[in-house]
């Protein structure tokens, strides 16, 4: 990369998209595809683009995130200079912890001031994609842009807050809408919450916003200035999974069973995650496994079809798991049946229980529950 870039990841924004899974954790630490957390994709994209310093903005429920990240060594981000830098909320008697993205950015100006990199890439954790960030930075330079926003063509979005973009033929954004009514009306350009700016430009923008008492980055900075600022849209053409609700989470999980999707996300074998030192998974005699992804540490005696098993899952004799997402260390005892179920971590499904949801509304079992 010609110019150096520092990463900033918002771990909590969009928590409300998927309250079932973010009740005890940040959006960033929501488990995905067997052995990953959503943040692994944003982090790996940065690392694979040569970024060696990533500030992670947290607000609440970040214990599981800290546990996941550790020193950062699993992403090659345990560095003397930089590496992973957690940015927990700052508050004192007069200042309350932030409530908006802009306030969060204000609270990390110290971090941004101390860095030396030319560019900042800001990413949320609600999207799963394999993205070359250095290409986005080059695009930003080429267009002499003030702000580059990455978008993806979508037909559906279920977030409670989202932005759509209207670029002209030169990729310059001419229209920017917040929460427009777009579902069911064909394709639109969804901003995927990845943005590039010069670091100094971002600092100036934040200071200016503080002086004027702005509170929303989207409304007060982007939407109001779309005509005057050089905002450019970078069209991401690869596979993108926006996790905007539990239904979307389920849908995008199931997509991972398609070879093309897997090849694109994981083909290069460069998505990093926390290492757990589990034993390889074991399949006993009598196991029947079809069209499924199975992570390390699983023990399978029963039938598993069209499902995703996270680390350390046990499927007992005579049990049947279909069209389901079974998270870490879930134990399904003998003779149970699950169809269209999402179990959070450490769930126990007792002998011969039957659980079923449907594809539009998967049955969700919360963390640590025993049924």
């Amino acid at each position: 990369m010609a110019h150096s870039t520092v990463g900033v990841i918002f771990s909590n924004i969009h928590d409300e998209n998927i309250p079932e899974l973010s009740k005890h954790r940040t959006m960033a630490s929501i488990p995905f595809v067997g052995r990953y957390r959503l943040i692994d994709f944003a982090l790996s994209n940065m690392v694979n683009s040569g970024i060696t310093t990533v500030g992670i903005v947290t607000k609440n429920n970040y214990q599981s995130l800290i546990d996941h990240l550790g020193s950062g060594k699993d992403w090659d981000l345990a560095r003397k200079d930089g590496g992973i830098i957690l940015l927990p909320p700052y508050s004192n008697e007069t200042d309350k912890p932030y409530t908006t993205r802009l306030e969060a950015l204000m609270s990390i100006t110290g971090f941004l001031n101390h860095r030396k990199e030319d560019y900042v890439v800001i990413s949320d954790c609600d999207g799963v994609a394999r993205m070359d960030i250095s290409d986005i930075v080059r695009f930003h330079e080429r267009n002499r842009a003030d702000i580059t926003m990455v978008y993806h063509e979508e037909e559906n979005v279920q977030s409670s807050y989202y932005i759509t973009l209207e670029p002209d033929e030169n990729d310059r954004i001419k229209g920017l809408k917040i929460n427009p009514d777009v579902n069911g009306k064909g394709k639109f350009n969804l901003y995927v919450n990845v943005m590039v700016m010069r670091r100094e430009y971002l600092i100036d923008t934040i200071q200016n916003a503080v002086q004027r008492g702005f509170s929303s980055f989207g409304r007060d900075i982007l939407a109001k200035n779309v005509d005057t600022l050089r905002i450019f849209g970078y069209k991401f053409k690869g596979y993108y999974a926006g996790i905007s609700s539990i239904q979307e989470y389920y849908k995008h999980s199931m997509e991972q069973l398609q070879r093309e999707v897997r090849d694109e996300l994981f083909g290069a074998r460069d998505i990093y995650t926390k290492v757990r030192d589990s034993a390889p998974s074991k399949y006993y005699d009598g196991a029947v496994v079809k069209n499924s992804l199975v992570s390390d540490g699983c023990i399978i005696e029963g039938t598993v079809e069209n499902s995703i098993l996270f680390r350390g899952v046990k499927v007992g004799k005579g049990s049947v798991v279909k069209n389901s997402v079974i998270m870490q260390d879930t134990v399904i005892e003998d003779g149970a049946s699950l169809e269209c179920v999402i179990t959070d971590k450490n769930v126990v499904i007792r002998d011969r229980r039957h659980l079923a949801g449907c594809e539009e509304l998967p049955y969700f079992v919360g963390k640590g529950r025993m049924l």
Partner: protein, 398 residues
């Protein structure tokens, strides 16, 4: 206060492992893949850290590149320490005399300054070609309680195999009165496991003496241990009752891999109380496809299975295409078994391509032996590799 370690481990990892043939053409035996995600050296290294021993010298000599890279700074085993940790000890040039390691004892002798740096009371000698889980702390406790100068871990082996081992003849209290290296007519079936704890000062003294002896083979089993016994040093056996396997041959490597399978495996690598640490592959969960049949097997991350896998061990990123059959086999990382190829009773090393319709090995019930394919080779479409054959070059068939 002097910074010191009570016990330092020295792991002998220099052996060529010539009886593993094509599997050790370019790598040292301890770096050979085992159990779908491990390498042999993961076992002694994990035993060390799980036993509270955090200072380990790894003595390498034969083809050390891959082993050195694998061990790296020791972080996967929690052995990256500011004081202690894992260190690769290669033969080096000295001002007066430089030489390759001439024997196991000479290898340790040449690295005496490494051990002495930590001022240990005890030195644990390990070898890098055994699969087992053992708490060395308990062995050390026994060594201290008995006031021993040397304690040798020992396991009962079938009497008919005893002549392949160093045999310990012991008194009722476990003290050793005789040590026989591979006796023709063994008096007992208590075999040395090649795991020794020495009281450090004694070890240094006998290594010095041995170095002065021009007739010595500079070997623990042949020289150091008999010399200590003859001099009347206190030597004890330490009985080990768990699983232990020397994986120095093709058949023992195959058997030991298969011992991981089943509901009650002879050897369990999934034991949460005694984790086996290793470098982990950077790969997504394995995908088991629509047409796959998988039974009684262990499969690592990143595999893509569309064919049949039965009673086998597959390391990371192995591909078994539709119609292909893998049975009674050990397949190492990155190997591709293409459509309708059949692999039976074989060990296949990393990044091998078995082209469509090829056949490697024969059904175990009829096979004359285990077929072995060395790394990075291609078996041509429709080619047939006979049972027991060992190949390390591309093969197109006859």
């Amino acid at each position: 206060m002097q910074r010191r370690k009570e016990c330092v481990a020295m792991l002998l990892a220099g052996g060529q492992g010539s009886r593993l043939y094509a599997l050790t053409n370019n790598i040292a035996k301890p770096a050979v893949a085992f159990g779908a995600k491990y390498r042999i050296i993961d076992f002694p290294l994990s035993n060390c850290i799980n036993s509270g021993i955090d200072t380990v010298g790894v003595l390498t000599q034969y083809e050390p590149l891959e082993l050195n890279e694998y061990i790296g700074n020791g972080q996967p085993w929690d052995l990256d320490r500011t004081f202690g940790g894992v260190h690769i000890l290669s033969p080096y040039q000295a001002k007066k005399k430089s030489s390759w390691y001439e024997g196991t004892a000479n290898a340790i002798y040449q690295n005496r300054s490494f051990m002495k740096k930590y001022h240990p009371d005890y030195v644990l000698i390990l070898s890098g070609d055994h699969i087992y889980k053992m708490n060395y702390a308990e062995m050390l406790k026994a060594h201290i309680e008995k006031g021993a100068d040397c304690t040798i871990a020992a396991i009962e082996v079938p009497m008919k195999e005893a002549s392949r081992f160093g045999i310990l003849n012991t008194n009722a209290d476990g003290s050793i009165y005789e040590f026989e290296e591979k006796p023709k007519v063994p008096k007992s079936n208590l075999a040395s496991m090649g795991i020794y704890i020495f009281t450090a000062e004694k070890l240094y003294r006998y290594l010095e003496q041995d170095d002065q002896d021009p007739n010595s083979e500079k070997d623990f089993g042949k020289n150091i241990l008999p010399n200590m016994l003859n001099a009347g040093e206190k030597m004890f056996s330490y009985r080990f009752k768990g699983y232990w396997k020397d994986v120095g041959t093709i058949s023992s490597l195959w058997e030991s891999n298969m011992d991981l399978l089943g509901e009650e495996p002879a050897f369990d690598v999934g034991d949460a109380d005694w984790k086996i640490h290793s470098r982990n592959p950077l790969a997504p969960p394995e995908y088991i496809g629509e047409t796959a049949k998988v039974g009684n097997s262990m499969i690592a991350l990143g595999c893509e299975i569309e064919g049949t896998v039965e009673h086998s061990i597959l390391s990371s990123n192995v591909v078994v295409e539709e119609g292909a059959v893998v049975k009674d086999s050990v397949i190492m990382a990155g190997t591709v078994i293409k459509k309708n190829a059949v692999v039976n009773y074989s060990i296949i090393d990393e990044n091998v391509v078995v082209e469509e319709g090829a056949a490697v090995g024969e059904d175990k019930s009829k096979a004359a032996g285990i077929a072995v394919l060395g790394r990075n080779i291609t078996i041509g479409a429709g080619a047939k590799v006979e049972a027991g054959k060992i190949l390390d070059k591309d093969y197109k068939g006859e």
